[in-house]
Point group: C3
Chain length 340, copies 3
């Protein structure tokens, strides 16, 4: 059977759009990039977009819908798209959408997210509901657009009380501080084959926290405190492979998360997702977050990861894997199974 | 001449087995993965094992031997296999084994290892035999299964005396502390061509020590000491390239190590090995260990490293390089040259 | 049209020569490696040099010229070549040279370099001309062959006065200390198509500064100060991808630098170049240096980078991109456009 190539793949020009559009082209689709004015250059230079639709800002996104529908576009969401749109606007979109919209609520609400991960049997860092409960070091994270800025460590309740004074009126979470290295595990769950594949691993490159260690302790103590306060703003990603003896557990975690998701919402989680973990010296794997869509940590693997090269004969990025799933769904006349 | 494809490649399902099995398949061999029960998933998911033999634990390994011999399997050792089996059990294995078993003793005994590396002209960190001899900062490393946990720095003899009290009855080594960055150099020595190839470089990703620098010095000083004590448990690997002007010296070191090994044991070191080095700001290269078999630091390069792509027209992992050597040996009717 | 393959590609055996020579061969050129005696091994082992010319030291480089001219060699400069030769000797070379020699002066003189970058609209760290002007933390960098050794941080004027005493009679620069992570952006500007391509990103691996963070603050404070003083000697490079939302700005910076270079010198900057930047938690990009030729940070991408794989159907290293440009120039009979 010949695939209906009249479908097009569309995404917002940011985050992992290069990978998504390139992957779509590799699978034979035409591509559309919806760009905020002034941000078109990467998509032109790298020649991944057959068509670029420019909008002034995110408020205008819905204006592109009629056009996208006419073009038979399937929209691929990514983290920036979801953050800027919010899951309620996304639920109202009419354009065909890859993934399960119903899972977004579970990802974006911290207490629902914890419920999900706990049911899947994952170890989570403890969350303290009241400051008075703090009985071990905590990391205090703020909500919203400021990204990773202003997070702080407090070694106990007293220390917390002192430091929180600088952050009046902000919403925050008090999370048990776990010392270990970060490992971001990337998965793809196929609703067609019902398999959860490991796509790769990365570690984030964050400013300024990944430069702190390059300043000697003596110099840090000498510099003004404000200058060396850590912040966790993501500016890039670094490829990593995980110790092979941990892989069975990572695979299990991915499968469990998918399994439980099917009890939470109809259709469950499918497509790309990421478990954000800390690996401790005791060889525990603590999951502190799930991202229920493609994350930027797959960007080092535009030409395939060490893991996808084990299984595929061609360079299989997560972006391309999405397009392949859509192609398979079209071929099997099951497109509705991959749209949310 | 047609290669005898009736030989199969077998390895233990852990460490670098994905790479070894994938490489064997790419060279046309059938593959067998011996798995501890419950750890089969990666080898199934990534479709690298034509057959999986499950055992309950490592004590059962020898039970698989008759089967492996009947299948004409050649066993590829890796670090986990050697650690779990011990070199004495390995010496008694009857199944054909890739590599030189006789070199394992030289690798696993710290004083033999030093003798080897010194004769090869490598710079080593000083080892202090008695605590009273400590006249500069040392890192104190413990033996055995606890991996990298509990290692500590002592700035002098007095400091050592204080800190060692927490580690009664453990065996340890007092090694001169050298400040510089780690660089793991991967080699492959072919007994057929007598060439020592550079296969790539990596740096390890260790918990918690690779997260310490992300905590500001002020926060570290405020946290309880036990919470920020370093440990060196390997949880992954990160790809690196070395400054090109250092390459001639790295090549020389690899060649020297092989050359001396031939004086130490019949047949000498062949197959994959790794020199574990520290590069100092004075551009010295200090070797603190040799691994006389494939190490997990080659895992980022399942689809080839920047170095193997220079030389090979196909993706050449260290795992595949092993299979290629076996294939060449079969073709040339010299299989005994690569078996130990 | 058949390309005139009688041209050969030559470079000095160091820095990024493996990549340059391999790329040249992939584009169909014969290659020549000029090697300092004793450093030939990598170029032999990796089989990238069709001919190796050995010289005793850099003073002898000009002796190879007649030979190179006779061979119809085109010389590819890299950082080590430029450092060892100096731009004045390079200006006097008679052998065809890829790149614009006139731009080297602008790169090697710090005040000209700043003028260039400022005109291109880039944000730079402040430079203090007199110690008395120091009103915020500074990093003090020394000139010359000692590389990154001895750089120090000073938190204010008083601190500077104290620390500079240890470095009498050295030339130095006092640069505003900016806390953020380093990001090295690699570009290629084609004088034939007038396009500035993004080739990839890396972060450097520097000794000892990239091992400092692995020592706990307590241990650092306990060790003798001289032992944990930072130095910034480059010993390798690590692959990174940049957050996609920063790409439009990085592309713009590259284009601006090229545009302004055309006002500074005839022909302007072309071929590979690198912007050396710091990304701050406020999402500023501060450029602290430009390298107007290939840098070693492209070495992780001998088999293509995540960015070049978006655009090219074959593995496109920066070294290969150079050879392709020369090939295109020969085909279009515009070789003079790429020679300086």
């Amino acid at each position: 059977m010949v695939v209906d190539k009249s479908y097009k793949i569309a995404t917002l020009g940011s985050h992992s759009a290069l990978q998504i559009l390139k992957g779509a082209k590799d699978e034979g689709f035409s591509t559309i990039c919806i760009c905020i004015k002034g941000r078109e250059k990467p998509y032109k230079q790298f020649k991944v977009a057959d068509k670029i639709i420019t909008i002034k800002n995110f408020k205008e996104f819905e204006k592109t819908q009629d056009n996208l529908i006419k073009e038979k576009a399937i929209l691929i969401p990514h983290a920036s798209f979801i953050t800027y749109m919010g899951f309620e606007r996304i639920e109202n979109l009419k354009v065909p959408y890859f993934g399960n919209k119903k899972i977004l609520k579970w990802e974006s609400d911290r207490s629902l997210e914890r419920k999900w991960l706990k049911q899947a049997g994952l170890k989570l860092p403890r969350i303290f509901r009241k400051p008075e409960e703090i009985n071990k070091p905590v990391i205090v994270k703020f909500h919203g657009a400021d990204g990773g800025k202003g997070y702080f460590l407090a070694k106990n309740y007293k220390d917390f009380q002192k430091k929180i004074k600088l952050h009046q009126e902000k919403k925050y979470v008090m999370q048990e501080y776990i010392l270990g290295v970060h490992m971001y595990a990337h998965y793809f769950h196929s609703p067609l084959t019902n398999e959860t594949e490991v796509m790769g691993f990365d570690k984030r490159y964050e400013s300024n926290v990944d430069s702190l260690g390059r300043i000697s302790a003596r110099d840090q103590m000498a510099l003004p405190k404000e200058q060396v306060d850590p912040s966790y703003v993501i500016v890039g990603n670094i490829p990593v492979v995980v110790r092979e003896s941990f892989l069975p557990r990572y695979i299990q975690k991915g499968e469990n998360v998918v399994k439980i998701s099917k009890k939470l919402v109809k259709g469950g989680l499918f497509g790309p997702f990421c478990l954000e973990t800390i690996m401790t010296p005791d060889e525990d794997i603590i999951t502190f977050e799930i991202s229920a869509r493609i994350v930027a940590g797959t960007n080092p693997y535009i030409y395939g990861s060490p893991y996808t090269w084990l299984r595929y004969k061609e360079p299989m990025s997560t972006g391309r894997r999405i397009a392949r799933e859509i192609k398979m769904a079209i071929e099997k006349n099951k497109l509705s199974k991959v749209l949310g």
